[in-house]
Symmetry: D3
Subunit: 142 residues, 6 copies
């Protein structure tokens, strides 16, 4: 399909990109819920393009792909974010997403203990305490 | 249960640790197959204690825990090793293990593409090419 | 603009994605030259979706954005890849790209020396020796 | 020695593991003091298995090994945690442990300055400010 | 020029090092302004040698080199610090420095979005929110 | 002491810097031996300033400082380089330096096993195999 308009591919507000973003946001909402939407909103003033690509690319193009189910995707993400360290804000969102897509609290804490073998106990401890925060918020959202 | 012998807990050749190691090696063999055993053997001369703990701790104590199944564990490991970078030798063994525990090649490459969102394309590219090596070896073990 | 076809956004061979990929590949060719194209080709059998997104997303959506010129982009990339470590294959491609977009050899080696302050000498040494390989290949492409 | 009970090796509350954990906790107390014990207690509700392995494996199996003295171990740990970054909570505990095992404040700050050469000034700065917090708490525990 | 005094090269208060430090501090002030000076002052009690080398080496020896201009240096630094993660305190100072040497806010946020391709969205998100803090402080220094 | 010449501080070939470099090289030779000198020589064509600063700053300014002995410094370095990963070339040089300054092979392998707790087994395995290479070369230098 050839372009009927003259907008550049990088223009995040082109009709094509608005459609990609809209779809991405719907995937994000199903997976991350309010927490994910909050990240996009927080980006609106500082870097709307980053928000666009988190939605359109990360969720619309990648997450939505059928070759790997959401539960499996969250296990990979928990591994990556635990290993990176310093990404506790994102780990919070993704542990929440993990619960949303059907991983249990036990599976999440086991995944982090498993990760300790491969990236060390310090990173795994920080991820564990992040999980505790998420679970506590779910128990008492006030 | 109190100790009937006087061996220190750190003594990797105490009767207790021989039992722990033996069990760990049997778990490792089921998961990693020959590749994992090769790592333990490679450690025999340089650091037998490290080989002991890879078997006894990583596999006997952690991997064997029932709270997370092997397929899920390998997804976490693929996430961690992709994110760390520079661990291609271990990623080779673990992609092999992933196939052994029932992940398909498509799921493995999807997991790495998924990881790209969280740790960037360079690390994901290196992990992808490692996967290609593993699959090629499986196709033609010569 | 609403979709006139029923292809999913994640389908890398939809008409829209073929167009995005085609544009991305043309940007990549201008910046990375043959080295970048070689990476996409190397992905064709193992993970064509990753190749699609390297082209369509990294180059078509991000690199092509007008807010930062290619010379500046390559300086950022050299910083990232030096700091990550273990990404020497990508650093090779990007040092080549840096030369293509007008950075001099002196500027590239200065950038790596500058990075040493922030990520340490070991990573900077490995990046420096990667630069030497790239320059040597340019001097003697045989 | 064969098992007289039928408990699995992964069962952290088996008689063998209770003994391993008890010994590990006694090593941890000598090295880390209250700070280390606090970490184990903080894990009790969220991931008791992780607390078990921090005690039984990290301290009982590894730290207690005679091939490297505690002062030397803390120097290695300071290097690792400074280089990892994002592990300031663990670095606090381990800088305290370093003082406990006989490293002086001067040696600790020199170790971090030395690390700056290898992992860059930003990580070393963050480690230095963590050391300052620890020393300040020792000077004024209120 | 041979040494006229007998002070060791490592002595940060030798006449030579006082001169190197003084020059480094003047470069640092031009680039980082008050934020950079604040880091040096914060080091005075805990690790004056580290403060000396940040000034004398990082700024006096490296930053001041003519082979790469300050604007280019800050692009490299933004890349390194975004990729490292966990260095938000330093990224704050360096985003400020980037504005001081003539990078625009748009160029800075584009640089971080560009980095996302190479080190992943989590690190880039954290860097973006750090940039937002810096810009907000500039808008309202109270 | 005021400058009697008009050379800039960044000029690595000023009389002052020649003296700093000369002293740094003598420290480096005592610690690293031929391996360290080889790194400096390898830098001569690609980035002589980096070679200058490895010698003058890393060794002349930092390593030579009296507050931490060489054996302790090498323990820190082994921790850093194991944790960073991807720095096997530098780890080779520094494991050699560790032997030169009096650490035994057992202490070195224990240090790496200790590091495994804090940065995971993959990084520690790669460091262990690097140590094996170094020891093998010492046993059979041919």
């Amino acid at each position: 399909m050839t372009r009927t308009t003259n907008t550049a591919q990088y223009d995040i507000n082109s009709p094509e990109n608005l459609a990609r973003r809209k779809h991405g946001l719907s995937v994000l909402s199903q997976i991350d819920g309010h927490q994910g939407e909050a990240v996009i909103e927080a980006l609106a003033d500082i870097n709307p393009a980053m928000g666009h690509h988190v939605a359109a690319f990360s969720f619309g193009d990648i997450y939505d792909r059928p070759g790997l189910d959401p539960r499996s995707r969250q296990l990979v993400t928990i591994g990556v974010l635990t290993a990176l360290g310093g990404c506790e804000p994102q780990l919070k969102v993704h542990i929440g997403a993990a619960l949303n897509v059907g991983l249990t609290r036990e599976e999440i804490t086991e995944a982090i203990l498993h990760a300790a073998v491969y990236c060390g106990f310090p990173r795994a401890l920080n991820a564990t305490f992040t999980a505790r925060e998420v679970f506590a918020t779910r128990d008492d959202p006030a």
